[in-house]
Symmetry: C2
Subunit: 431 residues, 2 copies
């Protein structure tokens, strides 16, 4: 799907400079980055003060220069800056690689998991967001997953809300709490804001907003509700306008029921500045299976300002879990051999080898049992491996220039001249 | 190739327990393992004595529990032991994943590189070795690389030599020095043995062996030479017999010129016990591109003794380098778009979207330029991306229900009714 949509593949190293990764994923994210211990005598250059104070965090930067990538977006931004003179912009790349996070493992939460990302950098047209929404649809549908919701919001709407609530200086704290609405409810969110030191004026306004919000449901209603609410905020209205564009362009393409606005969606990553996305599989409680958003200046910190980018990420492991739970895995994912040759001893096995090679060249999965074990054991092996056919030939058979082919499912077997073996096997397998 | 030969895929995590990896790769190998710093307050549980002494090596084990895999064989052995009750033996698996080594980077030497491994575990038949040699041949040939040498030796032969030379207690030191013959010559090897404290009796015998060895060339000559030399060593003769079996079974299968015996081949990994392999591309100075060997008890250290295994590994990055140097990369590795739609503005772009989607569904790589930039810039983009066709349509064209299709190579263009667009595009692309 990525390639059909014009994205080109790249891969980046598992390790990035630790300094490249820190500060991009929020405070909690920084703590989850896996750091690589410097090789050799790392204590030689260790921060003496941190050592004396036993300050692990401070020490870590002096004994660890590299870290495992935490997502694919930051390495991508670093890659774009390093290769800016060779790339054609807008640059559309896809990347499918594992990432690592030192999270406590749990359902849908892994320390190593695969992300499959598609990003466009060097273009601020909202058509990119529209295309990415279509890619969610096309790729998930191709995997047989059709019952999902693409949740949409915009960081500018969240900034507008913070403006209107008079808490612009606390935007991150506000969005972090708001993002938890699903899990902890309205009271929980207000409690958390309270704990974080928000005054009752602002929590009162947020309370009123959350109550009203629950009364609107369709995208149109939500848009009109938030447009009214943010009528005094320039950035807020820009966010509404962007969201409207995406909704209006996507709706006629047969995705009406799949796209949903959610004004509380915030996403934890520091670098998002515009549209943000999340995809949830309906009927499976596993959190979001995809995410993404617009980042206006991620390459700026690496020395290339003014390069807006937008991207999405498929969480391959969670999608795997969902497909498994919904029983959507295709039957044909099957590595069973087509043919297993029995082994009657070194002499006979050596005579099988050219036949084995020939069958492989014809594309048949073919094995020669590697030891001259008891026939019972060899049959059990072929059975356990769900082999379709077994080819059997002892000294007597080789002397007569014949071999026996056995259909493992039906138990039927026939003796065939060696010269007709491959033809017979192909027919029996239905090639 | 692996699948046709009956191997099933597995993947293992990037991180293993540090204790799983240490002691498997020789002393030098241990130092090259990348260790992961424990998350959180790692100093809390740090070895106080090592800290006081500033002993980096001793400290590392108390602040790092995990490490990045160094090869695929040890993780595979760990996997087999953990899953022994679910697996069918002999178990044939392939695995293609990156590994990490803290080596100084250089030509053909990377800190992250991909290995593509095939192993059979739970079978000690030498037919496995024969099959693996055939896989070297089949896989490399499939990549267009035909000019290579498969170098063969046997750890038992090396052990036999050590016996005959009276240096059985120094087997590792002996093989490490011998393995460098290619690089440092006979004098260099003798010098190194001297430095390592070998007495003149043993170095004299080794000198005599090395001089005689250079006078034999064919596999048959080498076998007869080494059989004579090891006539007093039981283990040595067993190694000769194993090697003879492999050579005799492989030779009739059209690989005579490709297989070479080299009695100095040792390979650095501690766990090999029988046949050892290396593959070198002729005419490219980059070291070995594949390796492998028989290990009789690698699973023993993880609690499952008596499981002999044998495997091979393709070094994907070096093979890439060789293919690049020999200009063997196929032309068709090309991500150019089939069609780029020009963008005349939000209105026209929105009307293009359904056509874009339709073309993608037909398997065409199709892009819609994401911004309504100047036409010159959009044409340059399509050119730089080596697009085959561009579809162009401004307000006037849409009003007439036509679009212009331009062949980017020839410059030819034609106006077509929108209803005929896809048909025309398919014809022009030659689908």
């Amino acid at each position: 799907v990525f390639e059909r949509c014009g994205f080109v593949p790249i891969e980046t190293p598992a390790m990035e400079n630790l300094s490249t990764l820190t500060g991009k994923y929020g405070e909690e994210g920084d703590q989850l980055i896996f750091k690589i211990l410097n090789n050799g005598d790392f204590l030689e250059k260790a921060d003496v003060e941190a050592l004396a104070k036993k300050d692990s965090k401070a020490l870590s930067f002096s004994i660890s220069k590299k870290a495992l990538r935490y997502d694919l977006t930051v390495p991508f931004a670093r890659f774009v800056v390093m290769n800016q003179n060779e790339l054609t912009f807008p640059f559309k790349r896809y990347q499918m690689q594992p990432v690592w996070r030192g999270d406590r493992p749990g359902r849908g939460r892994y320390q190593e998991f695969w992300q499959c990302d598609a990003d466009i950098i060097g273009s601020d047209g909202l058509l990119n967001e529209v295309e990415l929404v279509l890619i969610f649809d096309e790729a998930l549908s191709a995997m047989g997953l059709t019952d999902f919701t693409i949740v949409l919001n915009n960081r500018k709407i969240l900034a507008g809300m913070a403006e209107v609530f008079g808490i612009s200086d606390r935007l991150t704290d506000f969005t972090v709490a708001l993002d938890k609405l699903d899990k902890i409810g309205v009271d929980g969110v207000l409690q958390e804001l309270n704990n974080r030191g928000f005054d009752s004026d602002s929590t009162g306004r947020i309370d009123a907003f959350l109550s009203k919000m629950t009364s609107v449901s369709s995208a149109d209603e939500t848009l009109s509700f938030v447009r009214d609410m943010l009528s005094e905020s320039e950035i807020g209205l820009l966010g509404v306008q962007e969201t409207e564009f995406i909704v209006n362009k996507v709706a006629p393409l047969g995705m009406k029921g799949k796209l949903k606005l959610d004004l509380t969606l915030a996403r934890g990553l520091n670098y998002y500045t515009g549209a943000i996305f999340e995809v949830k599989a309906r009927g499976v409680a596993i959190g979001s299976i995809c995410g993404g958003g617009r980042y206006d200046d991620l390459t700026g910190v690496f020395g290339l300002p003014g390069m807006s980018g937008v991207g999405i990420s498929f969480g391959a492991d969670r999608i795997y879990d969902v497909l498994l739970e919904l029983n959507l895995f295709p039957e044909f994912l099957n590595n069973a051999p087509d043919v297993v040759f029995a082994n009657f001893g070194p002499e006979e096995a050596a005579r099988c080898l050219p036949l084995v090679r020939q069958m492989r060249m014809m594309g048949l999965r073919t094995e020669l049992y590697p030891d001259s074990a008891k026939m019972k054991k060899q049959f059990k092996y072929a059975d356990d491996r769900k082999a379709k056919l077994m080819v059997i030939g002892g000294p007597d058979e080789w002397a007569k220039n014949v071999l026996t082919v056995k259909n493992m499912a039906s138990g039927e077997q026939q003796e065939v001249p060696i010269s007709k073996l491959i033809e017979t096997v192909l027919t029996m397998i239905g090639h």
